[in-house]
Symmetry: C2
């Protein structure tokens, strides 16, 4: 239907006749001359309709004059040099003098135009118009190129792309499953996979050695801005490997794809940090290292002070008192400080103590703080020294359990870094390693797995693990980029007895383990090789590469935070007969 | 953990120390010497354990003697030239003299061994052992290479790989949907996509120009041997194209992947055949052209004969009387002929008339047939001549409606071709085109779409289509290979008014159309470009390439014909509380 793409018409074609297809981006009728910007996925070219063309046809101008926004056109014409060069577009040195303008499909008046961004609900409802916007085309293309680059790299290295099922077994562990009633088995259900975790482990036991899949995963969780019901991960697994085999391999992969897609050189090697160090310095297991701010633990200094919140937590076995220096923060207004307190409260803070260093040379006199009166001169001086605070800085304090203090002070660190313009440009990748094996869940009064129940502990002996469960370290690892956990993985348990021991520690009894994970326990008995792997969040990496905060910008048809597709109207009611076929009924709402 | 792969140890490594990981495929204790065949995904290499190694360590022989089938081992040793060359394996000129044998994971006694095929149920239950079998590894690899070759070809040509949702809107059209209750929307459901059809059309309207996806699709249909609940298709769509643009492009793609994966040159160009011709000559819209047998229509000859079944259908407006010559069929026993009759009956035959040509020179005297007495000499002679039957052949006759006669005689043709050894080796691809737009559904008393309701008719005018719906031809096309429809596609409707007209002809009222497909009808109003595409069945193409009848052999974790995963036990019951969370209950079985 066409000879060239609009966006690729160039000076080499001057004098040639071309046929182009595209949308009318802009049409301008300048009395006796008509200009149309014709747009396809490659870009825009200017079409000119003159009173009569070279062969004396006058119809072209009339056809051009009738063109409206987003009409779908086929245009034949002759390429010529443009007089007024438009440096903003790739085709700006040429234009096409139309000899024929064919209306392929008329567009009705638009809810919004390709150059506008009318708000997300409208964009999602008319996603086909939204995606025509060059900005969206670019972001989607970044994702496409990311996935291509990943596949190319993996294929060249012998990783085998193997599909695993979407209709799988319900295994209530971790997030909530999506359920699918089974028509042929009344009262039974399939579940959509939260990840292909067990299948990829089974593939290693089945002799596939190096596996990958760009896999769709499903979690029926409350949606946050950066979550979708369904998401895409690059899922990888390796047989006969150690942590470093996996890490070194995928670190190189990530470097290559950033080079190919973004033209960026990431650090080689990536920085490495234990979980303990990341929590200590940044209050986060996914620290954004573009932000230079670091915590200072001050429990030692305030153990004996007269501020009860400090002394309580400084002397508590699981407590933390941490200070964070905010360079230039002495300028904060009372309102700003209150806002930071409110922000910290969202992450669990009961209060946020603060101190302004108005003149570092003046000791107590130079410090403005509601808590100064509870601290003696030596303590004040020690804090100022330890945090490195200078004249004009502020210091914020968090005191709570180790975890809570780390959480809210970590959140505060991120906000302060942005507000104070301290976050550097660029890319800060790192590995976080040596995670705890278990976290104690105070509500459920049992251990929960920090990664997942298939992660191997650093110790190889079940008795050792049982004896030291509280402090056991796992063989899990996360790849972190600019404060985002973009990949997470581990070496897996490959012996049946160790897997049973871990299930046991997690409060999953032998019977329950057999019912849910019997096939895994069986498979581990038949010579399962040592194996490990990792999974990367494609949506998040694509969003980072595309420079957008929202993963919805790199998903063609995303759902809203209320789990709806505004374009198609999913989810929707279905007829009773259809429910009966799969042996279910809608429960009375009042029974909920 | 290893320096080389087992299957790749070769003479270049002689004298070198290697470390290998793998499974003990066979272990033979020859009194004072032990041989282990160590297997990984690349193949097998022979390990030798001698009474003491070069450094005088005696432990190796003891370790080797303790090895059992499928134990997972790490072996270090020195490569040496093998005395008794084993030409059957790639590594057959070398062996590895072990200096260390490390048991990584002991295997319990196996339900079956990697060299056995113990029946499909056991294989599927222990899929991890089944997939270790070299035969399965090869078949899975064929699939992996197919998908790789397709992606490479598509990526090089600028096709954009875009993911579409798995949680979509229920649109009861075509096959039965899988439903997923929506937790956040009580009483509402998502559906799993039967194909990304509407999303890919929307992507064309969204300006993506050339799309592909290796897409998972779901149909809750009765499972036949060659169907799965979920299956994989290569889904493609093109903007601004005609049928030939699509066909020529993908035909070249299929030729390239067969060349790359199988080393086979497919015909260039593919044969082309209309639906009408395929039905006339082969009684099938997916004829296997490796089978040379063709139909002969004989209604003209038997219109006035005395065999009522023939005359009835020969004079019926929608009837067909068709003959099929079976070369050498005069040898069939009465039992064989009865069996063919039973086979035809499965496809709708009420009876199967037959005729043996025992001596073609003798006219009526040379023919043995229960129906000969109803046919005069001229008719007999005309039939023999038209079918080209010679001495020793048989002729089978089908008389019924055009569709039924075609169906059962087409099925008979396939069976006869196999039984008589007439099916040639090799690959017989073709395009089938010019399908009817609609089929009349006698039960529902309405038209149904032969492809799907979004397929464009050959006529561009709604009034014309309405007036001639019964004989309307669509712009659909199928790619057929060796009797399998491996791909199907069409040019789509790109105008809203035509789409509404087709919905109307299919008995989908304006209100229903708006409720189910409103977003498509809307999208068509905003300058939708002409577009079309195709989808290929990856599972089937992989099975053909792998030389297996069953697509389950090229799916890592398939379900049985009763829709179960024998390994994981899906589907399964789930606790009431989990159902309550998604606002459903299991219906009483008695109420079904």
């Amino acid at each position: 239907m066409r000879t060239h793409y609009c966006g690729l018409v160039d000076e080499a074609l001057i004098g040639r006749t071309v046929t182009l297809c595209g949308w009318a981006d802009v049409a301008r009728d300048l009395g006796g001359l008509c200009f149309i910007d014709l747009r396809d996925h490659e870009g825009i070219v200017q079409i000119v309709a003159e009173p009569s063309d070279a062969e004396g046809n006058a119809g072209v101008l009339a056809a051009a004059a009738a063109v409206g926004y987003e009409d779908c056109l086929r245009v034949t014409g002759v390429v010529r040099k443009r007089e007024a060069i438009n440096a903003k577009i790739r085709t700006g040195r040429v234009e096409v003098v139309a000899t024929r303008i064919e209306l392929l499909n008329k567009a009705e008046p638009l809810p919004f135009h390709a150059h506008e961004n009318p708000g997300e609900d409208i964009r999602l409802k008319y996603r086909y118009l939204d995606l025509r916007r060059p900005e969206m085309q670019q972001m989607m293309r970044t994702r496409i190129r990311l996935v291509q680059a990943l596949r190319r790299w993996l294929d060249e290295r012998g990783f085998q792309d193997i599909e695993t099922p979407i209709l799988t077994k319900a295994t209530p562990e971790g997030a909530r499953d999506f359920l699918v009633p089974a028509r042929m088995h009344p009262g039974e259900f399939y579940a959509l996979p939260q990840s292909p975790q067990l299948f990829k482990q089974i593939l290693m036991m089945a002799g596939f050695d190096r596996y990958y899949q760009i896999a769709r995963c499903f979690r029926d969780e409350a949606l946050r801005a950066d979550r979708q019901l369904e998401f895409t991960q690059l899922d990888m697994e390796f047989a006969w490997v150690s942590e470093r085999d996996v890490q070194d391999t995928v670190e190189e992969m990530i470097r290559v794809v950033f080079r190919e897609v973004k033209g960026v050189e990431l650090a080689d090697p990536f920085l490495r940090m234990t979980y303990a160090e990341a929590m200590r310095r940044y209050g986060s297991d996914k620290p954004d290292l573009r932000n230079p701010m670091e915590f200072t633990d001050v429990a030692e200094f305030v153990k004996g002070c007269e501020f009860k919140v400090f002394t309580d937590w400084a002397n508590h076995a699981d407590g933390r008192v941490v200070a964070l220096r905010a360079p230039g923060g002495a300028q904060f207004s009372r309102k700003q400080i209150d806002d930071y307190g409110a922000h910290a409260a969202k992450y669990g803070a009961k209060g946020l103590a603060w101190m302004k260093v108005e003149d570092a040379a003046k000791g107590r006199e130079g410090i403005h703080s509601p808590i100064a009166k509870f601290l003696d001169d030596a303590t004040l001086a020690a804090i100022v020294k330890a945090t490195g605070a200078r004249t004009g800085d502020a210091i914020f304090f968090g005191a709570a359990t180790y975890k809570t203090a780390s959480d809210f002070m970590g959140a505060l660190r991120l906000k302060l870094g942005k507000d104070l313009g301290l976050v550097a440009e660029g890319w800060a990748p790192l590995w976080v390693t040596d995670f705890p094996m278990f976290e104690w869940d105070d509500e459920e009064k049992r251990y929960v797995a920090l990664h997942h129940p298939f992660t191997a502990p650093a110790v190889d002996d079940e008795a050792d693990l049982r004896a030291n469960a509280k402090i056991a370290v796992s063989r899990g690892y996360d790849m972190v980029l600019n404060g985002n956990e973009i990949g997470g993985g581990s070496i897996r348990i490959h012996r049946s007895s160790m897997q049973s021991a871990v299930f046991d520690l997690l409060g999953i009894g032998a019977e329950e383990a057999q019912a849910k994970f019997g096939f895994l326990l069986d498979a581990l008995k038949y010579g399962a090789p040592p194996h490990g792997g990792i999974a990367f969040g494609i949506d998040r990496i694509a969003a980072l590469m595309a420079g957008t905060e929202s993963i919805r910008d790199v998903i063609a048809f995303p759902k809203t935070t209320s789990a709806q597709c505004l374009m198609t109207g999913a989810p929707s009611p279905v007829p009773e007969a259809q429910l009966a076929e799969v042996h279910i009924r809608v429960a009375e709402r009042k029974a909920e």
